[in-house]
Structures are given as C-alpha cells and as structure tokens.
Amino acid sequence: MKRLIAAWLGLLAVLVVSPAGWAQQTIKIGVILPFSGQFADTGIQLDNGIKLYMQQHGDIVAGKKIEVIRKDVGGIAPEVAKRLAQELVVRDNVDILTGFALTPNALAAADVSAQAKKFMVVGNAATSIITTKSPYMARTSVTLPQIDEVFGDWAAKQGIKTVYTIVSDYGPGIDAETSFVRGFTAAGGKAVGSVRVPVANPDFSAFVQRAKDANPDAIFIFVPGGAQPAALGKALAGRGITPKTMKILGNGEIAMEDALKNMGDDAIGIITAFHYDPNHDSALNKQFVADYNKAFGRNPDIFSVGGYDGMRLIYEALAKTGGNTDGQALIDAAKGMAWESPRGPIAIDKDTRDIVQTVYIRRVEKVDGKLVNVEFDKIPDVKDPVKARMPK
C-alpha cells in the first residue's frame, strides 16, 4: 500500500515539476523572420526592435515569463514560413506569432493563425490584404497605400499638376503607384505617364530619360532599398533632373540612411513620405535611438520600430487580458489600443486591426554635414485606405 502511495506521489511530483506543469507560467512567442539571405538586414533590425523592448521592459508580463523562440525563414519562402508557424504552434506550443518581414510569408502563416486561433502581430510586411487573412491578426508596421495615397493627395494640394511615375515592376511598386496616382488624381492632379522598371535593374538611364521627355511637374518614384536608390539618384542627376528643375517625390525607402549615404549630394531636395525616421524630433524617439545605438551600434529604422511597437502591443494586450493567451481575448484587447511610439502617436484600428499612424512629409537636407530627412509636414491618423474602401 505504501509503495502504491509513493508511486502516485512520485507521478504527481513529476507532473508538477515537468514542463507541462510549468507551461502555465510561461508565455511563448514565436518569431519568424529572415535572419539569413537577401533580407537578413531587415530581419535583424526587426529582431533588434523586439530585443530592445524586452531589454527595457523586462520579460515578465502579468506575472508570467515571456519566452521567445526565433526561427529563420531564409527569405521569401511561404511554404517554410507556414511550416515554421505550424511547428511553433504544434510542437513548441507557442501562444503568439510575430515577426513577418515579407508579405508572402505573412500571408501563408496567416492560415495557421486563423486555424489555430493564435494572436499574430505583423512587424513589417506591408500589403493591405494581409490583416484580412486571419481574425486574430494585428499589424504594427505600415501599408504602402497608407503612405502613398495621402502623399498623392498632399502633392496635388501643393500645386503640383502633373506627375510621371517610375516604379519597380513588382507588387509593392505597383501598389505604391496605384495608391499615389489615386490620391493625386482625386485631388485634381493628372498622371501624364508611367514606366515600370524590372526589379533586378542595374541601369535607370533610359527610364529617367522617358520621364524627362514627358516634362511633368514632378516625378514619383518607388524602388526597393539596396543598390537601387543610389543608382536611381545618379541616373536622375545624370539626365539633368534635379530637385531645382523638377520636384522629385518618392516613397520613404529611397531616403533611408544607407540610400542617402550612397546617393550623396544628388539627393538633396528629394521629398519623401514615410512613417518613421530616426531623426524624428520627439523626446521618446531620441531616447529610443540612443538606447538602440547603445545596444546594437547602429541607428534604428522602420523595421526596428515595427518590431519594437509589435512587442509593445503584445505586452500591453497580455497585461490587459491578465496573461490569458486565448487568441480572441488578445485580439479584442489589441483592438483600439493607442499609444505614443518613437515614430509618433499610433493606434490599432478597431475594425481592420491594422495600424493607424501619422504620415510625415520630409525633405532631404544637409544638416551639420550629414544628409538627413527633415520633416516639414504631416498627415495624422491615416488609416489604410484600401481596407477602408472594402465592403464590410
């Protein structure tokens, strides 16, 4: 009899001490990002944002410990992203999924979030429809239409009557063009021509010349980061298009830190629209940039702030639900949340669960010998217009 009781006690002890017993005390977050390959820099910056938030705010929320499991998706590989999300849910029992730098990966993993009813926070991927793919998903980054439609509207209101668009021939480029032209023409402007440049494009000369031939008031540009902004800047200057002769408008990518460094003085005067710049003048941002530099030795960028705010959303949602990791509970807690981010005031829309934020209009200027984006105008509380137009 004694042995039987001992055996039962032993079993009980094992169950209590075993990981299953402790699971109630840990909240697991799965982070799916490209840590290797072409988009490694994006993934690392986003992850740095996550790490910084955890560094600043500790790893205990609502009395439970936060455990982060990181998985490398390697680049654009939706089947890998979906599989990693599945494995995180099924094998590692994560409660929340986040990361997601790239659209195809986010779209594929959304299925898992919807099926398994897990709270998912997208930290970067910028296509409008992503948040419609799972009712448990929120986004803390940006969508291209969000920026470019109001940018087009703003441009028309500045007295710019005609525009020629040069964009990269792929999803984001076409999105940017469509949104900008929509906003621009709705406010009375006219798009006099457009050209799409191949994504892997080494030479912009011909495209820039076509733009020049059309003689518009302004040129609107979208190219992905990396080598292209600098090459484009040089091509523009080469064909004699400078901000003095024609307004050059672009999506913020072309004026990110690296791009400006490589474009050099050719960039001065370019006007861009974006949701975040490390030089944004607010006390919170100055602190954020200082802490980020101390921890990682470089400036934060849009990816960092997307990851940082994503983590904040997760922490605040968990605090609100008291540590309850049920997908529905978390998303309900997230809806309507508003706070001050290093980029400015942001909120999570109640209906679309997407981010609402301020779009800043900036001009590239030389300040203290360095090229920076100086914010000179802004449009607050911008929602994603594509979803706003969708039938409810």
Binding site: S36, D72, P78, K82, V90, T103, L107, V112, G171, V199
Partner: protein
C-alpha cells in the same frame, strides 16, 4: 548468337530491377516519422516533395547528362496549375495533380525542342534563360498569379473525400510519400529499361549514337518531357499541401538548391536525389536554428568538399566502399 545476347541483356536488366534489402529498409524507414516525430510531419512532407523534384532532375542530369539550371520552371508551372485550378473552384487534389503534371509536361515537351539542340554552356544558359523568362511572365501577369504576394484563395478539398489537410501535416505527408513511391517506382522501370540504357549511352558518348540507330535528340526530348511532368507533380503537391503558391516556386534559387541536393546525394543513382533532399533539408532546418545567418557558408563548404573528395555524392562514395562485380 545475337538472339541469346538479346535475352541475356533483358535478363540483366530484369536482375537490376529486383528490390534490394537496403531499398526495402528505406521505404519502411519513411514510415517512422508518423511514430517517432509526429510534430515534424509537415517538414517530412516537404522533404518528400523535394525528393520527387530531385528525382526528376536526376533523370535529366544524372541519366541523360544534360545540365539544366532552370528545372524550377516545371515545378512552378505545376504549382501554379494546381493552385489556379483550386482557386477556380475545383479543389480535388488527385485530378489537380494530374493536370499539374500534364501542363508541366507539355511545356517540357515544347521547350524540349530547343533544349535538346544544344550542349555545354549554351544548354546551361538556355535552360536558365527559359526559367528567368517564365519568372518574369509570372511576375508581370499578377492578375493571374497574384504576382509578388502569391496566389490567394487556394482551397483544397479533402483527399479521397475523407482526409483533411490539417495543421499536423498527417495527410500531407501520407499524400506526398505515396506520390514519392509512385515516382520512384516509375523511375526505376524507366532506368532499367532499354530506353534508360540508351540514355546512359548517350550521356557517355553521343557521337556514337546515330551509327547504332539511336536518335539521341528524340530520346533526350522524351526524357526531358517526362522529367518536366514529374517536376510538375512535385510543384502541384507543394501547392496543394501548403494551399499557397508564389513566385519562389519558379525562382533560380530553387533550381540552384536542387542541383546542390543532387550533388550531395549523387547523380545517376536513383536514390541519390532522395538522399540529397533529405540531407540538405534537414541540415538547413537544424543549422537555421543554430546559426541562421551563415548557413549558406556551410552548405557551400560541404558542396566543395563533396565535389573534391566524394565525387558522385554520398551514394557514390558508399558504392566505392562496397566492392562490386558489375556496376
């Protein structure tokens, strides 16, 4: 005299077709993940799909001797076909797979006319060029393919009307594994047939073919088409098990990775592609956890070492360890 020789040849071929114990053991081992690693079934299904893809490339590269850098073209075509069919409303998996194979095979037959006319660098460049062209088309026609974002709304019905493709991957793995078995069985018969033998003859010495009555172009065209169809099956499987298709199914990266897998496992040995796929994908999964940033460095190093020290891949190395009378 020649009559007995013909019978000897056929008997020899038949002997080669017999199942070896190692092979049987392999197939039994493929059932282990169900029991030992049920949380990894999705990974296992993707390995099986890649193995099918690798076998199809081996038919061209290993057996026919044509170096192709654009085999992902057929994979992607199969994937998009299966995906588009499902999106249009017909989500039955098996018929979708058949269509995927047919479309890929058709395109293989069409491009085969061009491909069999060239060798060496021209062949590499043309297969690469065709692949890049199709990628551009898919990118451009985003109204059809979903472009960069990928194909949305792919809904696959239950397999055989009963088995749902769920989060755990059980159905996916069973489906992919069954297809792998079918493909390997088919490849085995092909390789050990007179047709297969003629392919190897062409690979060894093409100039001698027409005097002995083999039209090398026709044979190569045939195997190219078959390999394309099989690659289409692999692509269709991926689309159906993940319910998503995007441009990466057509990309150069996929073709290059496949070639690496084949090199690791050993070309021209039926199971080389399968083994290569298993090693590569498991290594990537494990290494990506440990050291994601520089996984490509290690795989590059492994490739260099394999080529220098273990040419003909792992299976080739193993074969040299075992003394054989014929081979």
């Amino acid at each position: 005299m020649s009559h007995t020789r013909a019978i000897d040849a056929l008997r020899h071929l038949a002997a080669r077709q017999r199942w070896r114990p190692v092979e049987v053991a392999f197939w039994v081992a493929t059932l282990l993940p169900f029991v030992l690693a049920p949380a990894y079934l999705t990974l296992a299904s993707q390995i099986a799909i890649t193995a099918i893809f690798a076998v199809s490339l081996d038919l061209i590269v290993g057996y026919a001797g044509l170096v192709s850098l654009g085999h992902a073209t057929f994979f992607g075509l199969g994937a998009y076909t299966a995906g588009l069919l499902a999106k249009a409303g017909w989500g039955e998996p098996l018929s979708g797979l058949l269509l995927a194979a047919s479309v890929a095979g058709c395109f293989g037959w069409l491009t085969g006319f061009i491909v069999v006319r060239v060798r060496h660098l021209a062949l590499i460049m043309i297969t690469l060029g065709i692949g890049l062209l199709l990628y551009e088309v898919a990118n451009r026609e985003s109204w059809l393919t979903g472009g960069n974002d990928g194909l949305q709304g792919v809904v696959i019905w239950k397999l055989l009307g009963r088995f749902d493709f769920d989060l755990y991957g059980t159905t996916a793995y069973t489906y992919a594994l069954a297809m792998l078995l079918l493909v390997v069985l088919m490849a085995r018969r092909l390789i050990h047939s007179p047709f297969g033998l003629s392919l190897r003859a062409i690979r060894e010495n093409e100039r001698r073919m027409s005097p002995i009555g083999i039209s090398s172009r026709a044979q190569l065209h045939r195997i190219y088409t078959i390999a394309a169809a099989i690659a289409g099956i692999a692509g269709g499987l991926l689309a159906q098990t993940t319910q998503f298709v995007d441009l990466s199914t057509l990309g150069f990266q996929r073709s290059a990775d496949l070639l690496v897998m084949l090199a690791l496992g050993g070309t021209g040995r039926l199971y080389g592609g399968v083994l290569g796929a298993i090693v590569f994908m498991i290594a990537r999964d494990r290494l990506a956890d440990v050291n994601p940033q520089y996984w490509y460095f290690w795989i590059g190093l492994l490739l260099v070492c394999v080529v220098l020290f273990v040419p003909n891949g792992i299976l080739g190395g193993l074969a040299r360890l075992k003394p054989r009378d014929t081979q």
